[in-house]
Amino acid sequence: MSARRSATLVAGLVLVGIVVLMALVSLVWLPYSLDDTTGGRLSAPSAEHLLGTDKLGRDLLSQLMVGARIALMVGAGSVAIAAVLGIAIGLIAALAAPWFDDAISAFIDVAIAFPVLLTAMLIVALQPPSLGSAILAIGLAMSAIVARVSRILAKRAVGSQYVIAARTSGTRTLGIIRRHLLPNMAPTLAVTLALQFGAAVLAEASLSYLGLGAPPPNASWGRLLQEAQGTVLTAPIGAIAPGIALVVLVLGVNFVADGLRDAVDPTRRGRRS
């Protein structure tokens, strides 16, 4: 692994680490409770309130810390759902008979065209809005994208001579998946999932705006951004702080994925001819 690659990984770990730390601390300690409105409306950053307060007088730093927890849960949760479901569908399609593969592909195309919002509303129709249903909706919607990428990657590996060689070596389908398909899909999948992580955090923001996300007082970063819209000129910190937090997390996850991909990919290490 080259120095530049490992630098990417370290930078990514630092950025993600900041957010994880905020989230962990928020579990045991917050500067102010989320329903504490004693700070006065829209007060500027000060010693008492490091990032100031919002228009209801709540401490912005405290909200940001709780938001970190929500962002991580949304990202990790929906990416996990999308990964498990999407990779499974992709593998089944790639290994299935051609007609079944065609059917799955058509289904994936329809699913990708289906808006996340609509999925979320359908799920919320079945159960009250909560962070869980938001994660489920985002995860389901993203699984179609992961399925499409997985199917292409798996098909490419299935058609390769090393998989034919594995079959003549007596390796059965599950062994081929574990031994050859998943490792060869992993580098590209890691990058796809990292991008989806960022997209999930942003998608939750729009769901919150419609009241389909995490219920108050648990403000996600997305909701903080939305709420700061009206006061962005008078108290810009309210929009800047969650914005920066979002960028730090999304960038960090992408760096980690990039760095990990290069770290686990032997063909990217130094060649010897």
């Binding site: 390769s160 001579q161 090393y162 034919i164 060689a165 079959r167 070596s169 490792p183 990919d265 001819s273």
Partner: protein
């Protein structure tokens, strides 16, 4: 005794007929070259002989009994006896696995050896193809085409098969590497009394490895015979055309 045999084999892909009425057999210790040009059905025939697909009509016979792809016990015996080497040394080895893991795959998948015993057999197989044991912790991309083909041959022979099936094993190699790999194959065949089936468009490579030759054209066998006899006196017009088209070196 016949080890591997195709009897009256037809195969179609969708509506397209690829193979028609193929008869072919390899005896214990014998060798058969299957030659033909692109579209002749060579690779399809090979995948049938390797039990990767089932013929539409006719049967593939192994040790005198029909090969049933669903019969797990039979297929396990078949795979322990019949191993393959493929054309492209760059894509036939998984780029993300170390050499020892690649060569050990048939041992592990067929449950023939594990742990230290598997490692020892891998080392012996690598040695028998002329590679030092210290290659085992490296990755495929660190090797040249000829070396990779040796690794593929080590993987095929690590289970001590009785039949080696090769799909254009030297076509992608440089001339000098080509003759070395052919020598290696002949050496291994002699040492282990291997039966050998090779698909190739290169009659020179077939002549250097196979006692018998089957000429395939348009999915049918047009001529069969001893390689020497067939090269010296081809009976069919297509075989004659094939042989006369081979570029030859001016005589010294």
């Amino acid at each position: 005794m016949t080890v591997l045999e195709a009897r009256g084999v037809d195969f179609s892909y969708g509506k397209r007929r690829i193979l028609t009425g193929i008869d072919l057999a390899v005896e214990a210790g014998g060798s058969v070259g299957i030659v033909g040009e692109s579209g002749a059905g060579k690779s399809t025939l090979l995948s049938l002989l390797l039990g990767l697909a089932a013929p539409g009509r006719g049967e593939i016979r192994f040790d005198g009994a029909p090969l049933v792809l669903r019969d797990r016990a039979l297929m396990r015996r078949f795979r322990s006896s019949v191993q393959a080497v493929f054309q492209d040394p760059y894509s036939s080895l998984d780029p993300r696995q170390r050499i020892d893991r690649i060569v050990a795959e048939p041992l592990e998948s067929l449950g023939l050896a594990r742990g230290a015993e598997a490692l020892e057999r891998v080392r012996a197989a690598l040695e028998s193809v002329g590679l030092p044991a210290d290659v085992s912790r490296r990755y495929p991309h660190e090797f040249s085409g000829g070396q990779r083909q040796r690794i593929a041959i080590a993987r095929a022979t690590v289970v001590r098969p009785r039949v080696l099936v090769a799909d254009e094993p030297v076509s992608a190699l440089d001339v000098s590497t080509r003759t070395q790999v052919i020598e290696l194959i002949n050496q291994l065949r002699a040492d282990h009394d291997l039966s050998f089936i090779m698909v190739s468009h290169d009659l020179g490579a077939v002549a250097a490895t196979c006692d018998r030759t089957v000429v395939l054209e348009g999915g049918r066998v047009v001529e069969t015979g001893s390689t020497g006899g067939l090269l010296a006196a081809p009976r069919e017009a297509y075989t004659q055309r094939l042989i006369s088209a081979i570029p030859r070196l001016p005589s010294a």
